[in-house]
Chain length 149, copies 3
């Protein structure tokens, strides 16, 4: 276990997690900030405080940032779960680093494509990240269960 945490693979896992988690945090904050200019808020007390009105969805930019944020959460959780299993599984460090970097590239490009309205790139990067998550989980489960049986 201590070896796994002092490996280059764990350093790569850390970098990917930090960048993807920061992106998720900033998308959440950007969603909130984007409500200020059009003065469209989710809560009546915010509208009363800052001047404006309470809405259900909000400005198209707000709605887009919110969808990109939600999509980040929905993919970051599976990646984190499978990545943790991978790190402790004893599976190939080289394969792990490839999966983690592929996830980072695909998810960075996915957010770029979401915010710049490029649907084909968004779909392809969603799929690439999806495959990287699946490969991470599959190989981790195989290594853990082979060791346990």
């Amino acid at each position: 276990m201590d070896e796994a945490l002092n490996s280059p693979m764990f350093a790569v896992f850390t970098v990917v997690l930090v960048l993807e988690t920061l992106k998720t945090l900033f998308l959440g904050t950007a969603t909130a900030y984007s409500r200020l200019a059009p003065k469209q808020f989710l809560n009546q007390e915010d509208a009363d405080w800052l001047g404006g009105k309470a809405v259900t969805v909000g400005h198209p930019t707000t709605a887009r940032l919110m969808r990109a944020h939600r999509n980040n959460i929905e993919n970051l959780l599976p990646f984190f779960i499978f990545g943790c299993l991978y790190v402790v599984s004893g599976a190939s460090a080289m394969a792990g680093m490839i999966y983690f970097v592929a996830f980072l590239i695909a998810r960075s490009a996915h957010t770029f494509a979401y915010l710049t309205k490029r649907p084909m790139l968004r779909r392809n990067m969603y799929s690439m990240a999806w495959l990287a998550i699946l490969a991470t989980g599959g190989q981790a489960a195989f290594a853990i269960l082979r060791g346990a049986l």
Copy 2:
């Protein structure tokens, strides 16, 4: 720690996490796919690309898959947090395996009930998974804090 990761309990935890995370991933993908046939998309650029129109909620099947997906995320995160604490807590392996399997059964049946519109089964399975999460977290916290004090 290394013992905990080579135990049958960790193998059971791995299987439960893999199945529940895969279910969550597939529900997310199914939500996206379900937009194709009715041609109702969340983004205007998707509607322009694939033909169709941009909507806020979408077809009832899409909305149902999205709710089932969201419910999975909302329960998978607490289970993963408490499960990780449990694995490192040194608490009873037998109890842990029972909680983890109860969670898996309840959440599998919950998704089945959601997609096949069985509200009583859905409520009961939601409650069963909720209790399994609570038991996991409570016993883990007890063991960790008893060891620390």
Copy 3:
């Protein structure tokens, strides 16, 4: 690693995770319960079963609980990821405990502010928790990458 898991810092991390995860779970359940009195449900089969009607958003109380719940999920995941990295990073235990407790205080006050409609307190506590998450992740990444290089 075993030292890290037997430290006072890990006990503090456990307490913070248990309280925040329980709050998240209870907000989810409160959202569901809040649909009973106004008889406004997300699913047609629930409306048929319990009497009432199916709606997209629901009663203002339900919508508020749901937003508070969602905000909890969106912050608990980044905190858990960065907190796990921190625990294994070997970074200062004292700093870690300060960040974790700051997160707990800020997020508890955030939920209080959300449910009692205090927008300034809510914004300030959101920002304080955000900074605590950032400090946790930044210091963890620094310690891990310094050890790996």
